[in-house]
Every structure is written in C-alpha cells, then in structure tokens.
Symmetry: C2
Subunit: 202 residues, 2 copies
DNA sequence: ACATATAGATACTGACCGGTAACACCCGTG
DNA sequence: CACGGGTGTTACCGGTCAGTATCTATATGT
C-alpha cells in the first residue's frame, strides 16, 4: 500500500525538552500524513530522540494522539481569546474576523483541513481517548458561535451559528477533495451573505 | 494502537462471483473502520474467500480502494438520475428532495459521513489512484448543483450551489465529530432558508 | 564525591502488513 | 476423457507495527 512519508527531521534543539520536541514532530507528521500513516519510530526520529524516550513520556500512541489534539484545541482557544479581546464589545466584528481567518487558512497551500475533524474521520473507535477531546472542542466551538451571534443581535442566532459552522467545516474538508481554487474568497462572500440574511430587517 | 474491528463475515453466497463479494466486503469494512485500519486478509475472509483470489482480481490494495470508491460514485450518480427523472421539469423540487435525502442519511445511526470525503482525509498522497476518483466525483456533484440552481431560476446560482454543497459536506463530517442529535431536521430548515434567500424578490 | 533522575542507544518481542509462490481442486467445455 | 481457467489452501517473503528490556551516558543537586 502506498505510504509516502517525508521525514524532514526538524533539527534537534537541546534547549527544548524531549517531550515538547516529540509533540512538535507528532503534530507535523500526523497532520501532513495522517495519524494511522505515521509510526511512533518516525516521530521519535523526527524529534531527534528515540522510541524509548517517547514511551517514557506517553503511555501509548493513542495517548500521544490525544495529547496532540489537546494541544491544538488549547491553541485554538487562545486564538479565540485573542480575537475576543481585540474585538471587545463588537461581536459582529469578531464573527467577521473569524470568517476571514478561516478563509485565509483555506487559501494556504499546505492546509489539510481541521486536524481534529480529520482525526475523527481516521479514528472511528468510540473508546479512543482522542474522541472526547474532539467532541468537547467542536461543541465548545459551536457554543461560542451561538453566543457570538446572539450578542450581535442577529435573528435566529442558533440557526445562523449552525449555518456558519457547517459552512466552514464543509469548506475545510472540501478542500481536501477538490482543491482550493478561489474557495477562500467565495467563502467570505457566503459568510457575509448568511449574516446579512439574519440581520433584523428595519 | 487501538484497532477494534468487528469481522461480521457476511455468509458466503456462491451465486455471487468472488469479485463482487470482495467489493461488498471491502465496502462494508472500509466504511465502518476506515481504509487504513482494514487489512486485505480481513476483507478476503469477510468475503468468504482468501487473499490470493483477491489479488487475482485487484492488482493492489490501492486499486481495490479506488474501485470501491468508483462503485460508490456510480451508485450515487444513479440516485441522481432517478431523482432527476422523478422530478423532471421541477428543478426546485429536485433540489429539495436532495436535501431531504441527505438529512435522512445524516439521521441514520450507522452513518459515518461521505465515504469519498473520508477517503480523501485518510489518503493524502497525491499519487493515490483514489484521489482522481474523489475529485471527479465531488466536482461533478457541485456542477450538478449549479445546474439545478440555475434551472430553478434562483439568484446567484453558483453561490447558492456552493452554500448548499458546503453545508451538506460540513454536516456529514460534523456528525462524526459531535454526534447526530437533531442535526438532520435542522439541516432541512437551513437548506430551505438558503434557497429562500436566493428566490427573486417579487 | 555520591545519589538520583532523565535521556540515549540498541536490540528485541510478537503481531500484523501487503504481496507472492506453489499446488490441489472443481467444473464446464472440447 | 482430457484439458484449462477460475478458485481454494497453505506457507512464505521482507518489512513495519506498537511496545519493552537492558544498559550506558550525562546532568543535576547535595
């Protein structure tokens, strides 16, 4: 079976503790090649260490995967906090900024969609430790959107939040099926149209 | 790594030639557990045959995967033809029927989203024979939607087609992240709202 | 100088992977 | 009857998988 993996070992920096190097290498390889396609040995090597050290820090590959996703979720929450601060008191502006940022992501040539969603597709087993991370993150994401739509005084905020959420979620997977070609720009227009449709008619 | 696979060998029916039994078994296992999670031996066994016979009909696992997706694409095209015939001269009705059917899919308890999209997530390698199948199918799908929106006389048909396409695509992956809970019904409302927003104001 | 903790290196286990070789078998056609 | 094609069976190949045991090296703190 075809399994082309580019190692590209990020050069070892001893100032960074091995646990962090492992997580960085895992993030890169998992995202680019998929979780099941990457072996622990390749991760250890890319992190400038070895399997034994990896297993001293993570009790299994499944746990490493869960931690990889947990880190991404934390990072995403930080971005939301940053944006909330930047657009304090302007929920509509925050909503628009979010759409803009997602459109930019989709335009990036190395984008392979949402790592959490991809993991959900790759790991259907209900008992996998990654699944609770994914579910909690996506539900929080939707909740945040609902609150934003509500605060912006838009009509039927829950429905609009779902529309925007699914639109973006669809765009991020669709890019992996069909390629990019201008989707980023179209996405922004669609988001704006949906918001406009939920603005109270004066 | 956790890899729980339920075999559930469909009992062998000798009236069906082995090639078809293999494709049926592959379709079931690939969809339920993911492509990388299922080995050729498990497929052959579930098909009531063995690896050797499988490799007499498919030159590699990658080719089997491509054929699995090709069959699904063909089946989907047939559904579209059936629907086009049923709603001949009523593009709007056809559009609505499509949304209804997709919403029903999403409500089904064993749904794991679009097999083609899942495969795209699982197989990022550009050279994989499955990728051309996926891309062609998704582009045809979008094209059909554009034509339908145009025929229905809706405003900005390309944009509406994209909106509906991404909405549905998003719903099918989102189900795998967050569960179903009523998404089917909400989906229908959202689709109708989008269509309404593109109906020429009188 | 000593104890402790962390990390590196290498080799290993047992299982599974995709793919193949060799051979026995059955069944329909000539 | 003989033949040949599709099928089944078994054993195997080299490689990789997740995970572990063992031993050495290094750094830190006292």
């Amino acid at each position: 079976m075809s399994t082309a993996k580019t190692a590209l070992a990020l050069e070892k920096d001893d100032r960074i503790p091995p646990r962090e190097r492992i997580l960085a290498a895992a993030a890169d390889l998992f995202y680019r090649h998929g979780i099941r396609a990457v072996g622990v040995e390749a991760i250890a090597e890319a992190a400038g260490t070895n399997k034994m050290t990896l297993y001293r820090h993570f009790e299994s590959k499944d746990e490493l995967v869960a931690e990889y996703l947990r880190r991404l979720a934390t990072k995403a929450e930080a971005v939301w906090s940053r944006r909330a601060a930047e657009f304090a008191g302007d929920p509509l502006g925050q909503l628009r900024a979010w759409i803009k940022e997602m459109a930019a992501h989709i335009g990036a040539s190395d984008d392979r969609g949402c790592a959490l969603a991809n993991a959900a597709v790759e790991l259907p087993e209900h008992e996998h430790p990654a699944r609770r991370v994914i579910q909690a993150f996506k539900q929080a994401q939707r909740e945040r959107l609902v609150e934003l739509c509500t605060a912006a005084g838009l009509t039927e905020p829950e429905m609009l939040a779902d529309e925007l959420f699914l639109l973006l979620e669809g765009a991020r997977v669709s890019v992996q099926c069909m390629g990019r070609d201008g989707l980023g720009a179209r996405l922004e227009r669609m988001g704006e149209a949906m918001i406009a449709a939920h603005q109270a008619r004066s």
